[in-house]
């Protein structure tokens, strides 16, 4: 079996990109925790990952300005969160504690993806050099 660098890393690069995007979405929830009328948002990880890996399979590079842009676009998977508390008085649906925990969780999952990637890269290195 030939070493295919594109497939050697599996789904982890896409998972990493989705995690990074989710970190950004949750960060904006926390930053806007005191903004009247702000609605908390989050990503649907499953569909975002599915979309990201689909885009990767059909990954084409644009060599002309008029080509369609088929790069990974994760913004479509961002949806509003269902608030636990319907009315907070100022229309804000951010629960700072919930968001902080989600951010932490997402950050750990990001690091897990990093670990997986790291393992794959180490495996490749081993295959290339032949030495442990």
């Amino acid at each position: 079996m030939a070493i295919n660098f594109e497939k050697a890393l599996g789904i982890h690069p896409e998972a990493l990109a989705v995690r990074a995007k989710r970190a950004e979405v949750i960060a904006s929830n926390i930053a806007n925790a005191d903004t009247p009328g702000y609605k908390a948002r989050d990503m649907d990880f499953k569909s975002a990952l599915a979309q990201a890996s689909q885009k990767q399979q059909s990954g084409m590079s644009r060599t002309h300005d008029k080509h369609f842009d088929v790069r990974t676009e994760l913004n479509n998977n961002v949806q509003f969160r269902m608030p636990d508390q319907a009315d907070t008085g100022d229309g804000n649906t951010v629960d700072a504690q919930v968001e902080r925990n989600l951010y932490l969780e997402n950050s750990m999952q990001y690091q897990a993806s990093i670990q997986f990637l790291s393992g794959r890269i180490k495996g490749l290195k081993k295959a290339i050099t032949g030495a442990g």
Binding site: A23, N32, A33, D34, N75
Partner: protein, 139 residues
Amino acid sequence: MSLFNVFTISGTGMSAQSVRLNTTASNIANADSVSSSVDQTYRARHPVFAAEMQKAAAGHEDSSVGVQVLGIVESNRPLNVEHAPEHPMADKDGYIYKPNVNVIEEMTNMISASRSYQTNVQLAESAKNMLNKTLQLGK
């Protein structure tokens, strides 16, 4: 790279909360500033936060928005008028005017702003760790 945006977003959060802390400090400092006319009396100031929606409208960022301070408004709660003819600042009818600052409210506001600020700092910190781990990838 979206993780770099976390710094921008938490940065806007920090600056908005520091504006809030600033107005709170100004309100508490001036809570006892007496004046002799309605116009010259200090009024409690509060910032108005809003999500940075103009960026989203321009189509750059759909999902993540920072905070901006739209402006600072003065409270229109009635001033505290006291009849104190012996006070050196009393007007010709013997009244002095005290600011409409509610110190207890301001103290809770301060705690809330300071906690929100700290949360934003922690966000940036953990985004930094995530980026560091990414830079170490494969080593």
